[in-house]
Subunit: 371 residues, 2 copies
């Protein structure tokens, strides 16, 4: 995948840097574990420090000091999950900030404008995020609205691209507009809606496509099924992005169904909470059983944490509430995710993905999970 800030080898995992930073991990450490692209959240950056302030700083890359690609979401998901008193109308999403209660309106046009100010390499179109479970009628109505919003979001994007001077805030007067915009397939857990949403979103015409509204509580096999029914409807030559998923096994299964791009807070959030993903299963480092365990978190791992820290030390740091616990755990988890994707890419390059997938699941089935 080629972006304005360089190439991304796919399939790829994007660490989540919600507010312009991956919690507890510096950019230097992210690069050292092979992060190729970051995801950042439009909702958070719009509220603080504000997209116009970031535009005046020269855009998100310059503001946060990250020179590789950045993808920004549309802000919609956080409006649905974080804000209070949200109200969805045809115009857009009215909401109150979770910080100070201030009123805001996020429209498809506004989502495009904000992301243009941020100057991310990949912008996401605003979609409606339907709660799970939803009945077929609600799912169709939401899908139809998402399609109407997609058209409006695309139109605004094209206007911004073709008439750079029309933007309220410009990074530089002579700047070229080198952002790509991805459309989003919705349709809840209904195969026919998913297929229709894919076809009609492709008809609008985006630079690439994402699958949204999954990994929101539906059974795992339903998620896999929805992914498997959607990807064949998306153009073969363009990246496909499964939003917000998932566990390492979800990633392997989604790749098997044709997905190229992932983001998820699991490695970062769980790391801060003391859960480590390892080749031997998931470890809750706070468990007393690790108090005198001199082994590294994952004996098969080559990350900085595993090279230099014992489970006993990590357990101590977590138990006493040291900031470094979050840093070291997150660094390991992100390495585990990025390394899993690296192994997937290798297996694909050598035509051995199916045997990799088999071995991966066999290994999982032998694993014990900490309570």
């Amino acid at each position: 995948m080629t972006t304005a800030h360089g190439d991304v080898e796919t399939p790829a995992f994007m660490p989540v840097g919600t507010q312009g930073a991956v919690k507890g991990v510096t950019h230097r450490d992210l690069e050292s574990i092979g992060a190729q692209i970051l995801l950042s959240n439009t909702y958070h950056l719009y509220l603080r420090p504000g997209d116009e302030l970031i535009a005046r700083r020269g855009g998100l890359h310059r503001f946060i000091g990250w020179s590789k690609p950045i993808l920004t979401d549309s802000g919609g998901y956080q409006v649905f999950s974080l804000s209070s008193r949200r109200k969805i109308t045809e115009e857009g999403a009215q909401f109150q900030s979770h910080l100070d209660g201030s009123p805001h309106l996020l429209t498809p046009e506004k989502a495009a404008d904000i992301q243009a100010n941020l100057g991310s390499d990949i912008a996401m179109v605003l979609d409606e995020c339907l709660a799970h479970p939803a009945d077929a009628a609600s799912a169709r109505a939401s899908m139809e609205r998402t399609l109407r919003w997609a058209k409006r979001g695309r139109d605004r994007y094209l206007q911004l691209r073709d008439d750079v001077g029309s933007r309220t805030v410009r990074l530089k007067p002579d700047a070229t507009f080198d952002q790509a915009q991805f459309g989003i397939v919705q349709g809840s857990v209904f195969p026919d809606l998913r297929e229709e949403s894919a076809e009609r979103t492709v008809e609008i015409g985006f630079d690439a496509y994402a699958i949204g509204g999954l990994s929101v509580g539906e059974p795992i096999d339903v998620m896999y099924d929805m992914v498997g029914r959607t990807t064949p409807k998306l153009p073969g030559g363009l990246p496909r992005y499964l939003m917000g998923a998932g566990t390492p096994e979800d990633l392997v299964e989604a790749v098997a169904r044709g997905v190229d791009l992932f983001d998820c807070v699991l490695p970062t959030r769980n790391g801060r909470n003391g859960q480590l993903f390892t080749s031997e299963g998931r470890i809750n480092i706070k468990n007393a059983r690790y108090a005198e365990d001199d082994r590294p978190p994952d004996p098969a791992c080559q990350c900085y944490t595993c090279r230099t820290c014992s489970r006993a030390y990590l357990r101590h740091l977590f138990a006493v509430g040291e900031l470094n616990a979050g840093t070291l755990n997150t660094l390991h988890n992100l390495h585990f995710y990025l390394d899993t994707l690296r192994r997937i890419r290798e297996s694909l390059a050598f035509g051995r993905f199916e045997s990799f997938r088999l071995l991966f699941h066999e290994s999982l089935s032998r694993q014990l999970q900490d309570p």
Copy 2:
């Protein structure tokens, strides 16, 4: 200064790793900014995870994965500043843990035992930490007790050194005991007591000597005066350690008076609170004036933070409560301290310390301090 885990170029500053980690900064980052030796707190490690657990792990170096020198304090200062219901008797300091209220007794012998279990390169003898201000009679009584405790602490240390098998817990049955023990000069702000304390502590005979009980609220010129009166009474060939000081200017002034070793929480604690030490003065990064300031925190600094972050970005990270704010600010502050010591060592090597000192203070006098 030579220790069991390598040499330390003096004068040197020791970052404070209270619980076996410098808050927010990994060992790797500490080494990258030239940290030569860490200080860790016996009181905290004794309570969690326990000195015997650390001994079973092979000592503090192996437990925390730090291969350079470590100095541990005696635990006394934290007993006085953190614990509740403390009661000082001739035997030692009775106290309740600040964590769970459990009762403990810290004696000079116990302080030596705990530090032997930790296996630090430098152990500190237990002293009585007198609050400031104190009258002359209290200061003398406290100094006399500190001298009696020093003798007991030294005797226990010698017993541990000469009869390794006598220890309750041993790292390895055949280990040699390669810890040094420093005595501590007390005497509050009374010159005659300081001089007497120095002479009589030297009579007991330690591997080197520290100056305690300063930087506890006394006027700055009184602190400088006490240091200046104490160092001439200490053996010229041995390192002199000024405990718990101080600001960068304190370090320069203490070096001018013959001090070789420092520790202080200012760079780490203030960093987490958003205060940055720079060559242009102290910056409170949370101030709104930095919201759109694209300059690095310190234009003269070569640390990772200054090479990659603007004041605007650091202000944003601090304002939204990102973990990385603490990491990046602390990394810069520690670099500033370590770099100041590096420049002091250079100026000493070239016989130019006095001109360095003059320029340092001239530069300070022109600086603005953020509110």
